[in-house]
Symmetry: C2
Subunit: 412 residues, 2 copies
């Protein structure tokens, strides 16, 4: 809420974005269906779609079967019309992705993390990586919309981002966005991993435009990206969805955040690994992720102790997911991120069970739970989707609308 806001008036081109988004969500769709979905007239749809086709974003692909008259022309996004680069920055590793308009991954690679290197050095490395791969893959640079960069933890709008306290402290005040824009020559968007993962799912998962869902992301920390009606829910300081630090046990251990009984300190990967160590298990991995993976494999094989530990963790995550669903009235929760990539199938049943018991699951609608199809690089894919979305839905952040209408009862 800083300074003068773009506000209303900038709300134009919104139907173009809405239509593009519907085409994305549907995969292939006809003009008639677009009129029904948007509420716009056939005439408007016609002209807007014409412009989209002229701009090369949309293709006419064949015709549907006739329903008694002229058959509908089917529309689709042209996947190779635009591209975006996504980068997931973590101290464990940097994941790169180049994605096209269809949400498909054109290139994907991984390099060692930032570690203790100087931020400027890392930025130069990232820029070189991206440039060489773009030429190698043969993507027309003019069609690349931008670069999305994603990292764990809360972000600060001013400086760029504040990473989680324990690690990468020196990045806190580094102007990452501006530096990368200079180095790579692309416009840069910054966001946190959970939000990006949610957009990634929204983008490539064919999720309907009107739904409310969350991506529960477990990686270094535990967070949630929340998308409502096709819009990211950000809250008052862009830090919504901080699931890792909700309290699920008033008598629990102290978390590094200062509170007691946080989900993260009770059930996060680091906590699970630490508990295994305390119980006397030998863990050979060099970091938490590796050890967590080893525990997940051991649990899958049926080993007693790992199984117990992961079951305990999944109970807490079930509570967190249920809390999220209760507060936000979600209809879908997607498990994603590196930790769920390793152990998602162990967590799924318990989380599913709890959400099935949820207050409204019986009354109004069920809460579905799924595991992301690309959980390991969900954040990087989401970073790219972030950029794609910002092109398809170029909407000012400050645009605000007045209060929504409550349930209206129309008199007989």
């Amino acid at each position: 809420m800083s300074g003068s806001q773009p506000g209303l008036g900038a709300a134009h081109a919104s139907s173009r974005s809405a239509i593009l988004d519907l085409i994305r969500a549907a995969g292939t769709i006809s003009r008639v269906e677009l009129t029904r979905a948007t509420g716009l007239t056939a005439a408007t749809i016609s002209t807007v779609v014409r412009r989209l086709i002229d701009d090369g974003l949309v293709l006419e692909v064949g015709r549907a079967e006739s329903t008694g008259g002229k058959p509908r022309m089917l529309l689709q996004l042209d996947p190779s019309a635009r591209y975006a680069v996504g980068v997931h920055l973590d101290h464990a590793g940097i994941t790169y992705v180049i994605a096209n308009l269809g949400g498909a991954i054109v290139a994907r690679w991984r390099r060692p993390g930032a570690g203790s290197d100087d931020p400027a050095t890392v930025v130069a490395r990232i820029a070189a990586e991206i440039r060489t791969t773009i030429t190698r893959v043969g993507v027309d640079p003019a069609r690349i919309l931008g670069l999305g960069v994603v990292s764990p933890g809360p972000i600060s709008a001013s400086t760029g981002m504040t990473l989680t306290p324990p690690v990468m402290q020196r990045w806190a005040e580094f102007p990452l966005g501006a530096a990368l824009e200079d180095a790579v020559g692309l416009s840069v968007l910054l966001d946190n991993d959970a939000t990006a993962a949610a957009i990634g799912e929204y983008w490539s998962g064919g999720i309907a435009t009107g739904s409310a869902f969350a991506a529960l992301y477990m990686g270094t920390g535990i967070g949630a990206g929340i998308i409502v009606d096709g819009t990211v829910y950000r809250g008052s300081s862009s830090n919504a969805g901080e699931v890792g630090h909700i309290c699920v046990d008033l008598d629990g251990p102290v978390c590094w955040c200062g509170n007691i009984g946080c989900v993260e300190v009770l059930a996060g990967p680091a906590a699970v690994v630490a508990a295994a160590r305390d119980a006397g298990l030998e863990l050979p991995g060099r970091n938490v992720a590796e050890n967590f993976g080893a525990l997940a494999r051991a649990a899958s094989r049926g080993e007693e102790l790992p199984l117990q530990l992961l079951e305990r963790s999944s109970r807490y995550l079930g509570v967190a997911a249920q809390t999220l669903a209760n507060v936000l009235d979600l209809e879908l929760v997607i498990l994603t991120g590196p930790a769920f990539a390793l152990a998602g199938s162990l967590y799924l049943p318990e989380i599913e069970r709890r959400l099935g018991q949820s207050f409204f699951a019986r009354g109004s609608h069920p809460v579905r739970v799924t595991i992301s199809s690309n959980a390991p690089e969900a954040a990087a894919v989401g970073a790219a989707a972030l950029v794609l979305q910002s092109e398809l839905a170029p909407r000012q952040a400050g645009l605000r609308m007045p209060l929504e209408l409550p349930l209206e009862v129309t008199a007989g």
Copy 2:
């Protein structure tokens, strides 16, 4: 998500609503400030404000001090331009309110609750109450915008409302809205008490348009009304903010909702009263509310056991508030509803403490906590505000916008 949606295109008159809402939030404001806040041009503001003045909704009240040129004309809502009736329907009692555009209460009264009476009888009683009071107070019926009706628990869009399972079961399938519209002759809006209380605070509390806040409502149950950017957050089935049934103790008692360790069963008024009884305390009241009030007074006097019980309850509610703030990234939590009206000051310190420790309280922004100034009839006032708001911001529910832009980094 049913059928064809109103969709885009119906987005007109939105700037009129936005401007009206800004005038409401500011109390008094000039045209120049409106241009800055909305992003619209001075020309647009001029014409829209002219229409608002012609319609009698806005008044020009004096001029501001000159800043070197022509002094600004100050604008204000005309409080007596419009009125709305609010009704809070609970089995304990029915609270009525007539409020004006300024959010001020013109009339307020209370009658015995629905009890076990026939719904049709109750509707007739309500209609008679409202009609006689309108004439008694002398409000011009033509200036009454409508009737807001509010009750605890989740609502079903189809039939009207579903009240909480334990009581008033026979109301579940009664078409309350339609019946009231016929009987009273006003258009009727239905919603739940927590949401209404939140709008009430938003309306009369002078809360800024851009903020994210929640009204934590403790009455029969525990719920939260969530308002983001001046819009009610409703979720996918209008049941968002169900705080009462989030789990805060995995080893806790079973709740009537089927889950374990819900806030409501651990810390709700009924739970506090039951615990007091179990501990051997004599409680003379006829219902939970009276006994809870007695306990609150005893605790204020410093009696040991009541104090302990309420402190225990406030710890759980602190967790709930913190969870809400973490998930939604709130900047303000308002305690309201009958229970907080009785014991708010006993709850405030602990809730404040917890939110002060919250993850982002230190990093980005504090989370403020206040007690509603009119907690006892917050729901009824909110019911009226609901109607006022629906006039000031006549926005279609189905209007949906594509994804919001993430943090953009502008190069050099």
